[in-house]
């Protein structure tokens, strides 16, 4: 238990790595489903961080509670996001976001 407060740094590094991977994936990949998955990765990295810190400073359950919130929100967001993707696919018959540039100048 108290041992985790010394090692929380490792979890921070791991979470940062996962966040970076998710972030880079979102920025770089063309496939919209992969972008959605990258977003999930970022959210999960934050979850990991929250839970790790909660474990390190265990006087209350705020971290875990917040993680639950994030999970719920992520689920809702994915539902909506998939709906949007489906509409987009029906419109463009494509899953590549770089073709969605009607709003360009």
């Amino acid at each position: 238990m108290s041992g985790l407060s010394d090692n929380v740094g490792n979890y921070v590094i791991l979470a940062s790595l996962i966040f970076t991977i998710g972030g880079a994936g979102f920025l770089v990949r063309r496939n919209v489903l992969v972008q959605l998955m990258s977003i999930e990765l970022m959210l999960n990295s934050v979850n990991l961080l929250l839970v790790a810190f909660n474990r390190a400073h265990a006087d209350n359950m705020v971290g875990q509670m917040f993680a639950f919130f994030i999970i719920a929100v992520a689920a809702a967001e994915v539902a909506v996001g998939l709906a949007i993707i489906l509409s987009y696919y029906r419109l463009k018959s494509s899953v590549f976001t770089d073709e969605a540039d009607i709003m360009r100048h």
């Binding site: 976001t97 969605a100 540039d101 709003m103 360009r104 100048h105």
Partner: protein, 900 residues
């Protein structure tokens, strides 16, 4: 007489009101009710108004004569009401005509004295005759009622002008006659040329009015009054010197002649400004250009306004302000010189003109020049006498010309053709009365001995030679020697030309063969052709546009459109020079309403000279006007080089000679040689002939200069509006916004990923601030005792460590929360305060702040300035990596805070 004197006492002379009110009433009735009243009633109203005004003027004249005794000029006053009060606040008035020193009362009052009683007789008398003339002349005109309304209004304004008791009242009349002149010149306003002539008259007059207003302002300033008595009382103030040229400009580079400071008396400025007004109203060079164009109006208008009355208002003004004018020899020289120049200049133009009215117009300008020559040398009576005689013979000439034109209109309706002397000739057989009266007037204007023109013009020439205006103080401009001889020579030159061109017009019009049309006795107008009756009201269609009809305005003419079809044109031929020779009836004499005024005026022109025949020692007018001019003009200023009149008879000889030469030459040219020498001269000198015919192209010059410069200004304004206002202010700013928008638009790729990338960049920036500690602080001075407070900027989880004593080592080992330290400095001392900041991530950064307290100098402005500067809190907001801006105060190096 006593009964009259009881009814009309001298100080409340309500007869003046009768004189003024009658024409005004006539104008009102004719104008408002004219259409309903019918022509006969209108005629009665107009004539009655003028007739009663004339009788009242006669009565006033005799009453004034009875009142006049001894040296004091008699005067009748009528005070109306107070118009306004001007107050001169703030400055000590050094001249004031009694009463409150700083108030100037302008009241509506009229007065009658020797000068304007005579003038009123002329205005109402000649006016009455011209009204009588025009009842017949304008009978067929659609605007008959309007004509008489304007004419009566003109007489009213002219009477206001001459009877006014002060300059503002005179100015009301001045502008009124200008207005009526405009209305009457452009009477047949359907023609654009007529309207343009009216506008030209009004606008050129306005230039002169400016001069009159400036003169009024100067008089208020330097004499403190605007009524005749007040101006006379305050005329001391007019001798104030006013510096008009400072001379300091380029003092080292230009010759002394230019850089010397110059000053003139206020009297000179007033005189010159007044003369500008007179030049406008009385058509002197350079503001004469409106008078020839004014011939576009009906002939009675030309006779009344532009010969007898309105144009003499300028001469009247000079006579009225004689006391002021004579204070300035320079102004008088300008008046006399301009008069002489105009006399010669206009006479040269009149030599070659073809239109009979234009010749008379230029003759008027020339004779007005003589009048100004007369008053300019100080011979006010002579100049005024010429006004009177000129009214007689010029009105007679104009009315006679109208009679001739009236007879030409039997067959020729085109304005230019019916007035061209080359289309006339031999009319003495058909127009006997017109011929006789015209001849008498021509003799008068040319200066045949014993006619009125002879006495008045030769008096002026004699005065020009012998008289001058001098100044009683030294160092003031005085007339150069020989001025009199030059003016006399110019006058003679003008006189010989006057005799020549007047006789030329006379011979071409009345002698020789009639060239207008082939006279067929008993000729009848074919049907559809307009006949010559006076009461006819046919539709009359002309094939030509723009007819300013002189005398025969037809009812339909005034409102018909001017583009007529060719079919109408075939109804009658307008060509005087067409293929088939024009045939027509005998020219006929005019009815009695037109010839009676001619006869009366001709009689006056012939015998009126005996009112002031100086060579015959018969000068009632001189005696009549003597008290007035003696009281207003300082006798010491009028110099007469021939007080015994010894030269008078000698100088009469050139006068008679020029009459004989001019008349004889005209006789030789036109009667003996049938016009051949004139044609030969014109062919030999085509350039000179053309430039005279073109009136020396002064109008064209004004067009280029004045109108051209206004147009250039307008073009420049258009350019500024298009390129500066629209271009820079509107379009350039719009362009900037557009360019910026284009740049920003590049960010709108439509890709969600690009937007996300921008968000990441922002996130990194934010993160940098969180991750890297910023050691920033604000240095401020507390009070003026040298205490400084250094306050560190807050941040996320910051802890501070200070080095207050400036030794380079931090005071504490630990980082604490103290974010502000206070340091007391001595004068002239400096301290380097260090700050180390540690953020939540444990990273540290340090900064150094350099404090300096400036030294105080004992005394001196620099010290006081720095003293004053000190209490001001010098708040320096610092940005990392940049030096703060230096304050530009007396003490250098104050409050410089550097960050490494």
């Amino acid at each position: 007489m006593e009964a009259f004197q009881k009814i009309f006492p001298a100080q409340n002379f309500s007869l003046i009101v009768v004189i003024l009110a009658m024409p005004l009433l006539g104008a009102f009735v004719n104008g408002v009710f004219g259409k309903r009243l019918g022509k006969d009633a209108l005629r009665l109203m107009a004539l009655a108004a003028l007739g009663i005004a004339f009788l009242a003027s006669v009565l006033s004249f005799f009453m004034l004569h009875a009142e006049q005794s001894g040296e004091e000029p008699a005067r009748f006053m009528w005070h109306g009401w107070e118009w306004m009060t001007l107050s001169r606040a703030g400055e000590a008035s050094f001249i004031h005509a009694g009463g409150e020193p700083n108030l100037i009362h302008l009241e509506v009052s009229f007065m009658l004295d020797a000068l304007n009683a005579t003038m009123a007789l002329i205005v109402t008398g000649v006016g009455f005759l011209i009204h009588l003339y025009s009842t017949t002349y304008m009978w067929d005109d659609r605007g008959f009622h309007r004509f008489f309304a304007y004419l009566n209004l003109f007489i009213f304004s002219m009477l206001v002008l001459i009877l006014g008791g002060s300059l503002p009242i005179l100015f009301v009349g001045w502008d009124g006659v200008g207005l009526c002149s405009y209305l009457l010149i452009g009477f047949w306003f359907d023609s654009e040329a007529n309207a343009r002539a009216g506008k030209k008259a009004f606008i050129v007059n306005r230039v002169g009015d400016f001069g009159l207003l400036v003169a009024m302002a100067l008089l208020v300033r330097y004499t403190g009054a605007l009524d005749w008595d007040g101006i006379a009382a305050g005329s001391r103030g007019l001798m104030t010197e006013i510096r008009i040229w400072d001379g300091q400009l380029f003092a080292g580079f230009l010759p002394a002649f230019i850089t010397e400071p110059r000053s003139v008396t206020a009297a000179t400025l007033v005189g010159l400004s007044l003369f500008l007004g007179c030049a406008g109203k009385s058509a002197q060079f350079p503001l004469y250009v409106w008078l020839p164009d004014a011939m576009a109006g009906p002939t009675p208008v030309s006779a009344l306004i532009h010969a007898a009355t309105m144009v003499t208002a300028g001469v009247y003004l000079v006579c009225r302000m004689a006391g002021v004018f004579t204070l300035s020899p320079a102004a008088m020289l300008v008046v006399a010189g301009a008069g002489a120049f105009t006399a010669v200049f206009a006479a040269t133009i009149a030599l070659v003109q073809r239109d009979i009215k234009k010749v008379l117009a230029y003759s008027t300008v020339s004779q007005l020049g003589y009048m100004f020559l007369g008053v300019g040398v100080g011979a006010f009576t002579a100049g005024f006498f010429h006004v009177i005689t000129h009214a007689f013979f010029k009105a007679c000439l104009f009315l006679g010309a109208g009679s001739v034109i009236h007879s030409m209109h039997a067959r020729i309706h085109d304005t230019d053709a019916s007035q061209d002397v080359n289309n006339m000739g031999g009319l003495k057989k058909y127009l006997p009365i017109t011929h006789a009266t015209f001849l008498v007037s021509v003799l008068a204007i040319a200066g045949m001995p014993l006619t009125s023109g002879f006495f008045s013009k030769d008096e002026i020439l004699y005065s020009a030679y012998t008289r001058s205006v001098v100044s009683t103080s030294t160092g003031v401009f005085n007339w150069p020697a020989g001025t009199g001889a030059v003016l006399f020579a110019a006058g003679l030159l003008g006189a010989v030309m006057t005799a020549f061109y007047m006789f030329r017009v006379y011979f071409l019009t009345f002698h020789g063969e009639f060239k207008g049309w082939r006279i067929v006795p008993g000729w009848q107008a074919p049907p559809g052709e307009h006949g010559h009756g006076h009461a006819e009201e046919e539709e009359h269609e002309h094939g030509q546009a723009a007819h300013g009809h002189d005398g025969h305005a037809h009812p339909a003419h005034a409102d018909a459109a001017h583009d007529h079809g060719a079919s109408a044109h075939a109804a009658h031929s307008h060509d005087v020079h067409g293929s088939a020779p024009l045939e027509g009836p005998e020219p006929h004499e005019s009815p009695w309403q037109m010839t009676l005024p001619l006869v009366i005026l001709a009689a006056l022109a012939a015998f009126g000279g005996f009112l002031n025949a100086a060579p015959l020692h018969l000068t009632p007018m001189e005696h009549w006007l003597e008290p007035l001019f003696a009281s207003t003009v300082d006798a010491a200023r009028l110099q007469n080089s021939d007080p015994e009149h010894g030269l008078m008879y000698a100088l009469l000889v050139p006068g008679v000679l020029v009459f004989l030469i001019g008349g004889g030459t005209a006789y030789f040219f036109y009667i003996m040689k049938g016009g051949a020498p004139a044609r030969m001269l014109a062919e030999r000198t085509p350039g000179l002939y053309q430039i005279l015919l073109d009136k020396w192209r002064v109008d064209e010059l004004y067009d280029e200069l004045v109108v051209g410069s206004l147009e250039a200004l307008a073009e420049a304004s258009v350019w500024v509006d298009r390129w500066v206002v629209d271009g820079i202010i509107a379009r350039l700013t719009a362009l900037l916004v557009t360019v910026w928008g284009h740049l920003l638009r590049l960010f709108q790729t439509g890709h969600a990923q690009a937007y996300a990338a921008v968000m990441v960049v922002g996130l990194f920036g934010l993160g940098w601030f969180v991750a890297v500690p910023q050691p920033k602080a604000v240095v401020s001075e507390v009070g003026s005792t040298g205490e400084y407070a250094v306050e560190a900027a807050p941040g996320l989880g910051y802890a501070y460590r200070w080095d207050v004593d400036g030794d380079g080592n931090f005071d504490n080992e630990d980082f604490g929360p103290t974010s502000q330290v206070r340091i007391k400095l001595d004068e002239g001392a400096t301290r380097d305060v260090g700050l180390q900041v540690r953020n939540a991530f444990g990273r540290t950064r340090a900064g150094v702040f350099h404090l300096q307290r400036p030294k105080h100098d004992a005394g001196g402005p620099a010290a006081s300035r720095s003293n004053a500067a000190e209490p001001r809190a010098a708040r320096l907001a610092l940005a990392s990596g940049r030096d703060s801006a230096q304050h530009s105060s007396a003490a250098p190096g104050r409050d410089i805070v550097k960050v490494p």
